[in-house]
């Protein structure tokens, strides 16, 4: 580690991802003094942040460090898919990061989802290795399904247009597919920037990273309907063959529809219900740019609330998973009410009340949003079929 972190004049502190020989082992936010952080002053906090994972990373390093990278020339090929809409500045950062990935024969496609301008198309013209696909049906899950239909390779790796993957991200995702039952892999998503209070709070309230240990989810070791901890669509990969068996993403869910989110988590539930595994691999790191303004952050949280209840609604009515009926009660009693309590009485480590209220309002809307969205999708289908 460096002795100090400099050039922080305009910041109160810094978010650090702590690694041991490349493997992420912990994260921490340290305060800056006079524009710099002196690491030696914070050793105890750092130790605490890495305590759980570091010792196992040390074992792995001791055992496996001088073995050559086994999967560097994995035979499995991937298609990287980015679904985007009117966000060329973010998309450019993402594409620049993808250009730095080592060549494993991957294909990169961008699905431009119901754009209002041709700016994305123009941007893609500067990247000769990136294939541009125009999808006029509005909705993230429509774009995802289009990406699955267009991808030429066996594995499709999704990244959000506002995420910046590390250079070993793709390799670390792909290596998990060596097990035949692994149909889906998610990576660890870290905040790209914490420029505003809103970004800090959203990272604190709803971090995309799900811990520093690799986890395997399957119906025999995990409640398949509780997919909140499995990972997120911003950093996930799946085998294309899976679609033939369990269907694609639900086009009534996620961004661009009344339900606002939930498409990825509902899909994960179906993967697990079919008896397949999902692996969460924290070594596949991608950096996500959270929304900057407070209003955008509150909207995003509200959207999560809508999405969760919307995808539960689908699981109840369409997948006939009636035990989902127990989840709202559980979430309310175990998490939401205690959070309200802490927030109102300003107990340590509480979350902003506006987030909690926004999420709760979202929850109430969720089921209605799903039915509304379902109706729209069905109408569009009818239109298409004449």
């Amino acid at each position: 580690m460096p002795d100090t972190i400099d050039d922080l004049q305009s910041y109160d502190g810094a978010f650090l991802l702590l690694r041991y020989h490349g493997s992420p082992v912990g994260k921490i936010i340290l305060p800056a003094k006079d524009g710099k952080i002196i690491i030696a002053d914070h050793l105890d906090e750092i130790k605490k942040a890495v305590k759980k994972r570091l010792k196992y990373a040390a074992v792995d390093h001791f055992l496996f460090s001088h073995q050559e990278q086994q999967n560097a020339t994995s035979a499995i090929r991937a298609t990287i898919a980015i679904c985007t809409r009117n966000r060329t500045d973010d998309l450019k950062l993402c594409l620049d990061a993808l250009m730095k990935l080592p060549d494993r024969g991957q294909e990169i496609i961008v699905v431009d989802n119901a754009p209002s301008t041709d700016s994305t198309k123009k941007l893609i013209e500067q990247y000769p290795y990136v294939r541009y696909i125009l999808e006029n049906g509005k909705g993230l899950d429509i774009a995802r399904n289009r990406a699955l239909a267009e991808a030429l390779n066996e594995i499709v790796v999704f990244t959000d247009d506002d995420a910046i993957p590390d250079t070993d991200w793709l390799d670390n995702i792909i290596r998990n597919f060596d097990h035949p039952l692994v149909m889906c892999v998610t990576g660890m998503t870290m905040p790209f920037e914490l420029e505003t209070k809103a970004q800090e709070e959203i990272e604190n309230y709803s971090p995309f990273g799900k811990g520093f240990f690799r986890k395997i989810f399957s119906i025999t070791r995990w409640q398949p309907l509780a997919t909140g901890n499995v990972g997120a669509g911003a950093n996930m990969a799946l085998r294309k063959v899976l679609i033939n068996e369990i269907g694609g993403f639900d086009e009534a869910l996620d961004a661009g529809t009344p339900t606002q989110s939930g498409g990825d988590h509902e899909f994960f539930a179906r993967v697990l219900l079919a008896g397949y595994h999902i692996v969460y691999d924290p070594e596949a790191v991608s950096w996500h740019r959270h929304r900057r303004t407070w209003k955008e952050a509150v909207n995003a949280i509200h959207g999560y609330g809508v999405g969760v209840y919307a995808f539960w609604t689908r699981l109840f009515f369409e997948e006939k998973q009636y035990s989902i009926i127990l989840f709202p009660k559980h979430w309310l009693l175990q998490t939401q009410l205690p959070n309200f309590y802490r927030s109102i009485f300003k107990i340590k480590k509480s979350y902003p009340l506006s987030f909690l209220l926004a999420e709760f309002r979202g929850c109430l809307k969720g089921p209605f949003a799903y039915f509304k969205s379902r109706k729209q999708v069905n109408q569009n289908l009818k239109k298409q079929n004449g």
Partner: protein, 410 residues
């Protein structure tokens, strides 16, 4: 007839799936005139014999009949008439890949080879959780064997897809026909003890289209496995039964309730167990998965203990029988392996000294012991990392963690 390989398929009243299998054999990439197929019809009451006799194959095909003596006898019977140097065993409900025979044969470079093929479990849509669990169990097993540093053990032998030289098979007198089940483990045990070299062939692939395994059969099978494990222990006193030790060494109330129940009210317990089985179906319908898993674990534990106790006579006898320490080797042969000079030098040390068992140290700190397990292949240097990772990560982390990680490197 001059064939190199004999494919032996025991079958029992499955004419249709056997016919499909014979059809698929026509497509093998291995030259058709260089292998023979021996169908052993064991107690078949359907038209299997007639179907095979009327079949016009492009390869050598013969059939033997047995009056229903079980799969182990059927396989032995097939082996006794086989003419190939290599015996390949497959089940009658498999879909063989095109290179199945070729890939098995390719690895038989000497007579000590035993090749285990990959048999993915084919699952229907809307399968029960139990069947998903079965598929998972098989895939985990194959996934482990596929790793380059896998330490082969007797229970890696799967009778439905493996090959062995006929010389070795005959030398060991084939499968033991007195066992209730697990005859593949028992053969695996003798094979390894005789110095056979196990190999896993991912490319020798045969889809396993087992449609009959369900919860009830799985539980009944568990009871048979308990009985068979006692039979094996009687045949091989130095056999260490890890599964039985795992269940017997538990000190929980539920375990002692099970044991006492089996001792004093076995028929009541059986009835309770079938009630539990019924409850599991209810749990599955309601998707109460944690209740389902707990009950699944308990019932398997129950039926296995029930089988063990039937085999051993009483709990006391069983306990002494399974848990009594075996004197397997002279303790002088136990060596010490030190990790302080790095993992590579520890590996070389193992390859140089060829120990049966050893204690692992890091400097002066004890990490763990690798014991001699009859039924495991000779330990080699390249096994060490996986053993450390799977068994001793915690101990090793304690030694590696403090101190040196936070020394500043300027």
């Amino acid at each position: 007839m001059n064939v190199t390989a004999s494919l032996i398929i025991p079958t029992h009243n499955r004419s249709a799936s056997l016919k499909k299998m014979l059809n698929s054999l026509e497509l093998q990439s291995y030259p058709l005139e260089k292998f023979e197929v021996i169908v052993v019809a064991d107690g078949c009451k359907d038209n299997t014999v007639e179907m095979v006799n009327n079949y016009q194959p492009g390869f050598h095909l013969s059939i033997c009949e047995l009056p229903g003596l079980g799969a182990a006898s059927a396989r032995n019977k097939g082996a006794s008439v086989a003419q190939g140097q290599t015996l390949i065993f497959a089940d009658d409900d498999m879909e063989l890949s095109k290179d199945f025979i070729k890939e098995h044969i390719a690895l038989h470079t000497n007579e000590r080879m035993v090749v285990i093929g990959y048999s993915p479990f084919k699952l229907e849509t809307n399968a029960s959780i139990q069947r998903m669990g079965v598929r998972e169990w098989w895939e985990e097993k194959f996934h482990e064997m596929r790793k380059k540093d896998h330490w082969f053990k007797y229970d890696n032998l799967t009778s439905g897809n493996f090959s062995v030289s006929s010389a070795l098979f005959n030398k060991l007198n084939g499968f033991n026909t007195s066992l209730l089940c697990r005859e593949d483990y028992e053969l695996g045990y003798r094979l390894i003890k005789s110095g056979a070299q196990f190999h896993f062939a991912y490319t020798a692939k045969a889809f396993h289209c087992d449609e009959v395994t369900n919860l009830h059969r799985s539980l009944q099978r568990k009871k048979s496995e308990g009985i068979a494990d006692i039979q094996i222990k009687k045949l091989h006193p130095d056999f260490i039964n890890k599964e039985a030790i795992y269940y017997l060494s538990q000190r929980s109330i539920s375990k002692s309730v099970l044991v006492k129940g089996i001792q004093y009210f076995p028929s009541l317990m059986d009835r309770l167990a079938s009630f539990g089985e019924m409850m599991m179906n209810v749990f599955e319908k309601l998707r109460l998965l944690s209740s389902w898993s707990t009950m699944n674990y308990r019932l398997h534990q129950y039926w296995y203990l029930r089988g063990l106790m039937l085999g051993a006579g009483s709990y006391k006898q069983l306990y002494e029988f399974v848990m009594k320490p075996n004197r397997l080797m002279n303790e002088d042969q136990r060596l010490t392996i030190d990790l302080e000079n790095g993992i590579k030098s520890a590996e070389d040390e193992i390859d140089r000294l060829k120990p049966l068992a050893f204690d692992i140290y890091y400097g002066k700190k004890f990490i763990g012991a690798v014991d001699f397990e009859p039924g495991s292949e000779m330990i080699k240097g390249y096994h060490l990392r996986k053993i450390l990772k799977d068994k001793f990560s915690r101990e090793l982390s304690v030694v590696l963690f403090p101190g040196q990680l936070f020394i500043k490197n300027k």
